[in-house]
C-alpha cells in the first residue's frame, strides 16, 4: 500500500520539526523510513550527506509505546544502546546516569519500568536516545500514551532539552497544540498517500515562561490556522 | 513460507513428512514403522470391519457423554467462580491443582470405584476435560467489562437477562476456547482411560494389535484417532473464529 508520495523535506540541525497530519497519513511511516526501520520503495534519505540504508549511530528513535525492556532496570534500559555497541559496563553506566539525571529521573536508576508512571517511562526512552549521542532524534508520538498533565510538563522539559542538546529533532504527533507549542517548524501532511500540504513556522517568543506561551496570541492563531486547514480531512 | 513467490500453506509440510515416513517404511529399517501406503490401505479395510465400528461407537459414546458433563458442569462452575468470590476462594485451589495434576494416576482409583467398564472411561474423560473449561469460563466472566454490566443494569435488565444477554455472550470467546482445550484433553482422557481399562473400545483394539505385533493396523488405528482429534479441534476453532471478532473489542 502506498503510504507516502512525493515527500521532499530537509531538517535543519538544532531545531525541532514536527510532522503533523490526520491519522493514517503516513507520518509514522515517514519517521520509520528516516530511522531506517522500514525501507523506502522509492527515493532516499540523507543524513549529513550520507544515504540511509538502515538504522545508524547518528539517529536515535523514541518509541510511542516506550519499548522498554520489562526485565531490565532503568539504568540498563538507558544504557542499552551503548551496551549493544559493546561499551564497557562502568563507562556506559556513568553515561546513562548522566542522562537519567538530565531527564529528571535521578534516584530511579534501579527501578523497573512497571514501577514508573507512563510519563516517567517515556523519560527513560528519551534518556536512552540521548545516551547514544546521535545527531538526529526521532520521536514517534512520544506523549500519546502519557496523561495530559504529565504531557504538559514533559513538553516543557523537551523544549529545555532541545535548547540544551543542539540536535536535530523530528517529532511526530497528532496533537495540534503540542505541535505548535514545541516546534520550530511544522510539516503538515495530507491524507494517505501522505503529501506535504503545508509548512508552518510558528512565530512564538520561546524565551517567555511556558504558561505565557500557551496564552500567546501567535500560539493561539497558529493552532486555529492549522485546525482550519486540517478540518476537511476529519470524517 | 513462500517458494518462488507462491505462499505454501503451513500444513503442506506434513506431506513432506508423509513421504519421509513412506521411505523409512519401504526401507524396512524399523519394524515399528511400516510404509505409510500399507497403513492407509489397512485403514480403509479397518473402518469396514464390524469390530472397528463397534469400538469406535463405544469410544465415541464415552467421549460424548463425558464431554457433555464436563462442558455443562465446567461452564456452570466457571460462571459461579467468576461471579462469586466465595465460590472462587473455596474451589480455586482445587481447580488449579487438578488442571495440571497427573490424572492418569487417578484412573486405577476410578476403576475400583466405577468398575472395569464404560463408566470409568466417562469419568476419566470428564476429569481430564472439566478443569480447563472451568478456568477459562471463570477468566471469561471476570474479563467482562464492569461497564457492560452497569449498562445492562441502568437499562433495567433483570438478573436472568443480564446473564443470558450480556455476561454469557461477552464471555463466550473464552468459554469456547476452554471448551476447545477441554475437547483436546477429553480425547487424551478417553484414550488413557480405555488403554488402562483395556477391555473396551479402542483400548481393546490397541491391546490386541500391539500384543500381536500388528504394526500396520496399530498405526491405522492411531492415525484415525489423530485425525479425529485434529478435526474436532479444527471444528471448534472455526466456531471460535465466528465469535472471536469481538473478543478484542469488548
Amino acid at each position: 500500500m502506498e503510504a507516502l508520495r512525493g515527500i521532499d523535506l530537509d531538517f535543519p540541525t538544532g531545531r525541532l520539526t514536527t510532522l503533523l497530519g490526520p491519522s493514517g497519513c503516513g507520518k509514522t511511516t515517514l519517521l520509520k523510513i528516516i530511522a531506517g526501520l522500514i525501507p523506502a520503495s522509492a527515493g532516499e534519505v540523507r543524513v549529513n550527506g550520507r544515504v540511509v540504508t538502515g538504522p545508524g549511530p547518528e539517529r536515535a528513535f523514541v518509541f510511542q509505546d516506550f519499548a522498554l525492556m520489562p526485565w531490565a532496570t532503568v539504568l540498563r534500559n538507558v544504557a542499552f544502546g551503548l551496551e549493544l555497541k559493546g561499551m564497557g559496563k562502568d563507562e556506559r553506566q556513568s553515561i546513562a546516569r548522566r542522562y537519567i539525571a538530565e531527564v529528571g529521573l535521578s534516584g530511579f536508576e534501579n527501578k523497573y519500568p512497571h514501577e514508573l508512571s507512563g510519563g516517567m517511562r517515556q523519560r527513560v526512552g528519551l534518556a536512552r536516545a540521548f545516551a547514544v549521542n546521535a545527531d538526529v532524534l526521532l520521536l514517534d508520538e512520544p506523549f500519546s500514551a502519557v496523561d495530559e498533565q504529565n504531557r504538559r510538563k514533559f513538553q516543557e522539559d523537551l523544549l529545555r532539552l532541545v535548547a540544551l542538546e543542539k540536535k536535530t529533532f523530528i517529532f511526530v504527533t497528532h496533537s495540534i497544540e503540542e505541535a505548535v507549542y514545541c516546534s520550530d517548524r511544522i510539516v503538515i501532511l495530507s491524507r494517505r498517500p501522505g503529501r506535504v500540504a503545508e509548512i508552518i513556522e510558528p512565530q512564538i517568543d520561546r524565551s517567555a515562561p511556558p504558561d505565557a506561551i500557551r496564552r500567546d496570541q501567535g500560539y493561539l492563531d497558529t493552532v486555529e490556522e492549522i485546525w482550519q486547514g486540517l478540518k476537511r480531512y476529519v470524517d | 513460507m513462500t517458494i518462488l513467490g507462491f505462499r505454501v500453506p503451513m500444513m503442506a509440510s506434513l506431506l513432506v513428512w508423509c513421504v519421509v515416513w513412506e521411505a523409512v517404511g519401504q526401507s524396512g529399517a524399523l519394524f515399528l514403522i511400516p510404509p505409510l501406503s500399507d497403513v492407509l490401505t489397512a485403514m480403509v479395510a479397518l473402518v469396514q470391519t464390524g469390530t472397528w465400528q463397534a469400538a469406535a461407537l463405544t469410544t465415541l459414546h464415552s467421549f460424548v457423554l463425558g464431554m457433555f458433563f464436563a462442558i455443562t458442569a465446567g461452564t456452570l462452575l466457571g460462571v459461579l467462580m467468576g461471579r462469586f468470590p466465595a465460590v472462587d476462594n473455596l474451589l480455586g485451589i482445587w481447580v488449579n491443582i487438578f488442571v495440571s495434576a497427573p490424572l492418569s494416576a487417578l484412573v486405577p482409583v476410578l476403576m475400583i470405584l466405577f468398575g472395569m467398564g464404560e463408566t470409568t472411561v466417562v469419568v476419566t474423560v470428564f476429569l481430564f476435560a472439566v478443569w480447563i473449561i472451568v478456568l477459562d469460563a471463570r477468566a471469561g466472566i471476570q474479563g467482562v467489562p464492569p461497564s457492560l454490566v452497569e449498562m445492562g443494569r441502568s437499562y433495567g435488565a433483570s438478573a436472568f437477562t443480564l446473564y443470558a444477554r450480556i455476561i454469557l455472550p461477552a464471555a463466550l470467546p473464552e468459554i469456547l476456547a476452554g471448551i476447545r482445550l477441554g475437547l483436546v484433553r477429553g480425547v487424551k482422557g478417553v484414550v488413557i482411560g480405555q488403554l488402562l481399562v483395556s477391555i473396551i473400545g479402542y483400548g481393546e483394539l490397541f491391546e490386541l494389535y500391539s500384543r500381536n505385533f500388528d504394526m500396520t493396523n496399530f498405526w491405522a488405528l492411531t492415525l484415525i484417532l489423530f485425525a479425529a482429534a485434529m478435526l474436532l479441534s479444527a471444528l471448534v476453532e472455526a466456531l471460535e473464529k465466528r465469535v472471536d471478532y469481538y473478543a478484542g473489542v469488548r
Binding site: 523497573y112 | 482445587w94 497427573p102 492411531t222 489423530f226 482429534a229
Partner: protein, 276 residues
C-alpha cells in the same frame, strides 16, 4: 455526578487509621485462610464420604493419612519416588533442551516453522498416550522406555510454546534493538529470548505436568515400577488406604513441583511480577 465520588472520598478520609486488631491481622492473610478452609473442607468431606462409606473401596481420609505416614516411614514411598522421578527428570531435561531449542529455531526461521511446526501441532492435539505401548517393543521396560514416554508427552508442548513465544516477541522491542544497530545475534539473545522467557517457562510447566502423566502411564501400562507399581500392587491386594495414599502423594508431588517452578520463575525472571 461528582457527588458519589465526593462522598466516597470523604468517607475514606473520615475513618481514622485503625489500630491493628486480631481480626485485621487475620484479614491480611485472607487468601491463605481461604486456602486452608478450602483444603480442610475437602478433607472433611472425604472423611465423611469414607465413613458412610460410599464404596467398599473408599477409605476415609484419616486411614489414608495413616497409610501415607506408614509408607513414608518404612521407606517404600521414597524408594518408589526414586524410581519414578529419575526418568521424569531425565525426560524433562531432554525435552527442555530439545524443545526450547527447536522452538526458538522455529520462531526465528520461516523455513523451520513451515517444516517442523505442523508436526508438533499435530502431536500436541493428538493423544500421544496411544503410542506408549509401542515403546515397549523397542526399548523394553527399563529406564529408557519410561524416559521416552515422558519425552513423547512433554516435548510437543514445550516446543510449541517456545515457538509461539519467539514468534510473538514484542515487535516494538525488536525494532528498538534494531534502531540502536543491534546485530541479529544481539536482538535474539538480549531482546527476543528474554521477552519470550515467560511463555517458554509456561511451556516448561505444561511439559512437566504432561511428563508426570507420561511417567505414571508408563508405570501403569508397561513397566510395573515406582509409584505406578505401588498403586497397582496395593490395588491388587485390596490395601485401599495405601493405594489412595500413593495416588494422592503423586498429585501432591506434581503440584508442589509445579508451584516451585513457578516461584522460581517469579523470583529470577520476572521483576515486573514481583510484589515487593
Amino acid at each position: 455526578m461528582a457527588l458519589p465520588a465526593h462522598a466516597n472520598g470523604s468517607s475514606r478520609a473520615v475513618h481514622p487509621p485503625e489500630a491493628p486488631t486480631v481480626w485485621g491481622k487475620l484479614m491480611e492473610h485472607r487468601p491463605a485462610l481461604w486456602r486452608a478452609a478450602s483444603v480442610g473442607l475437602f478433607f472433611l468431606a472425604w472423611e465423611i464420604a469414607g465413613r458412610v462409606p460410599i464404596s467398599y473401596a473408599f477409605p476415609t481420609f484419616l486411614e489414608t493419612l495413616r497409610a501415607f505416614v506408614a509408607m513414608l516411614l518404612d521407606g517404600s514411598l521414597l524408594a518408589a519416588y526414586g524410581q519414578t522421578l529419575q526418568p521424569l527428570v531425565i525426560g524433562i531435561a531432554v525435552s527442555a533442551l530439545l524443545g526450547v531449542g527447536l522452538g526458538i529455531v522455529m520462531g526465528l526461521s520461516r523455513f523451520a516453522e513451515w517444516l517442523v511446526a505442523p508436526v508438533f501441532i499435530v502431536l500436541q492435539a493428538a493423544p500421544m498416550a496411544a503410542l506408549i505401548p509401542l515403546i515397549t517393543f523397542v526399548y523394553g521396560i527399563g529406564l529408557l522406555a519410561k524416559t521416552l514416554a515422558v519425552i513423547m508427552l512433554a516435548l510437543p508442548v514445550i516446543a510449541l510454546n517456545g515457538y509461539k513465544a519467539v514468534r510473538n516477541a514484542n515487535p516494538s522491542l525488536v525494532a528498538m534493538c534494531r534502531s540502536f544497530q543491534g546485530t541479529r545475534w544481539q536482538t535474539v539473545t538480549r531482546v527476543i529470548i528474554p521477552d519470550a522467557s515467560p511463555v517458554i517457562f509456561a511451556g516448561l510447566r505444561l511439559g512437566l505436568a504432561a511428563g508426570f502423566i507420561g511417567v505414571i502411564l508408563a508405570e501403569l501400562l508397561i513397566t510395573p515400577t515406582g509409584i505406578g507399581d505401588l498403586i497397582t500392587y496395593h490395588r491388587s491386594v485390596a490395601d485401599y488406604p495405601e493405594m489412595y495414599a500413593a495416588v494422592v502423594s503423586i498429585i501432591l508431588v506434581s503440584t508442589l513441583t509445579l508451584a516451585a517452578l513457578e516461584a522460581f520463575e517469579l523470583r529470577v525472571l520476572r521483576p515486573e511480577k514481583r510484589t515487593s
